[in-house]
């Protein structure tokens, strides 16, 4: 079936529809929105997409996405290089940074082990982490993967492979979220919260 739109519009809609969460209707709406804006806005958007895709690579140290290698965090001499916080995705690193509480370095795995989806340890940046730890100077590895099954699997796997090294391996605390309702917490969460209780 031929598109009712002129070819350039149809192509734009087609490209937009390849984005996650964008269906044909949303694609049309976005395309017409772009067409109604000033041409320089469109150019600036196109340039931003190009710049990001062309200039961003992975940091050779922490595997985070970066435009310089090593990335700004790995180059920052004010940070404590003896502590590595391991996260699944770059957005998890951003979340940790927003806390403003952490002054060590990171390692981004670029995913989590998911046996059912056929994602094994070799698909992640685990080898790079091990060679960082092997390289020395690391005192503690903080496992800050998600608390879902994939994240727990990954954390347990990392704990196992990090065991031969002389580093302390810690896992972030799991328990009740701030503002959470005790009544609605599941048993595993509550049990963990109880275990991790602190004197006040």
């Amino acid at each position: 079936m031929s598109s009712p739109y002129a070819l350039p519009i149809a192509r734009l809609i087609d490209e937009l529809c390849k984005l996650p969460g964008v269906g044909p209707k949303t694609g049309q709406r976005l395309a017409f929105h772009l067409l109604h804006r000033r041409p320089e806005d469109a150019r600036s958007l196109a340039q931003a997409i190009l710049d990001a895709t062309e200039q961003i690579g992975t940091c050779s140290v922490c595997q985070n996405l970066t435009d310089t290698d090593p990335c700004a965090i790995c180059r920052d001499s004010a940070r404590d290089g003896s502590v590595i916080c391991v996260v699944e995705e770059p957005r998890d690193l951003a979340a940790m940074e927003r806390t403003g509480e952490y002054r060590g370095r990171y390692h981004v795995l670029q995913g989590a082990i998911s046996p059912m989806d056929g994602v094994g340890p070799e698909e992640l940046r685990i080898r790079e982490l091990l060679s960082r730890v092997q390289g020395g100077g690391v005192r503690e590895v903080i496992l800050a993967t998600n608390t879902d099954v994939e994240g727990e699997t990954t954390a347990m796997y990392l704990a196992r492979v990090l065991k031969p090294f002389q580093v302390s391996v810690t896992r972030i605390a799991r328990g009740l979220p701030v503002g959470g309702d005790l009544d609605y917490a599941d048993q595993v969460t509550l049990a963990r919260a109880l275990e991790g209780r602190r004197e006040v």
């Binding site: 046996p115 059912m116 094994g120 879902d148 196992r160 503002g179 959470g180 599941d186 048993q187 595993v188």
Partner: protein, 252 residues
Amino acid sequence: MGLYRTEAVVLRARELGETDRLLVLYTRSEGKVRAVAKGVRRPGSRLAGLEPFTLSELQLFQGRELDRVIQSQPRRGFRPLREDLGRLAAASYLAELVEGLTAERDPSPALFQTLVAGMALLAQGPDPLLALRFLELRLSALAGFQPVLDRCARCGGEAGPRPAFAPAEGGVVCAGCRPVSGAVSLAPGTLASLRFLAAAQPGRVEVLRLTAGANAEMARALVGWVSYHLERRPRSLDFLEALYLDAPRGLC
């Protein structure tokens, strides 16, 4: 049907949108069901216990394509599955088997019970790999693929002194009927163990003690059996095998 209430084990969970999760559930009353848990990834969400391998009492709303989880009350978390890598990998394999061997909305209370008993065995039992062998046999039987073990699946005669297991033939075959390829040789003791497991109650599985050789034979036979019926090798097996590779016991 609209709103309904049932017990369910979460087989698989996948992120959906910003805060939702798409779940594959095996429910007691409806069988395998796909459902959305809205907002469950938000901190403080009131939908608790929707993590894989958890048994929960759920209230669901039947939708056209996907059901929706309205309320959840976790019943059993099978906590050791989350704290031991080997047990967790085994539970992933169990969940994958149930997902692969069942069709949507085709309830089987017996399969549901086996799934719950299986999660409990994997969480607490002393031998998760042996439990998996039992579960492979029981689940495939409940899904309609029971291997023939008491005689040769091909000629109907005795399995004889040198039996083999051939998935494409439907179970055990005698030496004369053994196909050129795709068969696993079984020691007579292994065949006896297979017969015992096929008839065992979940609580009795672990009275069985197997040698490393028998373990490996049984694993090859039964993994071959489920792979044949799933028409693919289960994905969780690679990780499971990698974990147990250096373990003293047989492979999975």
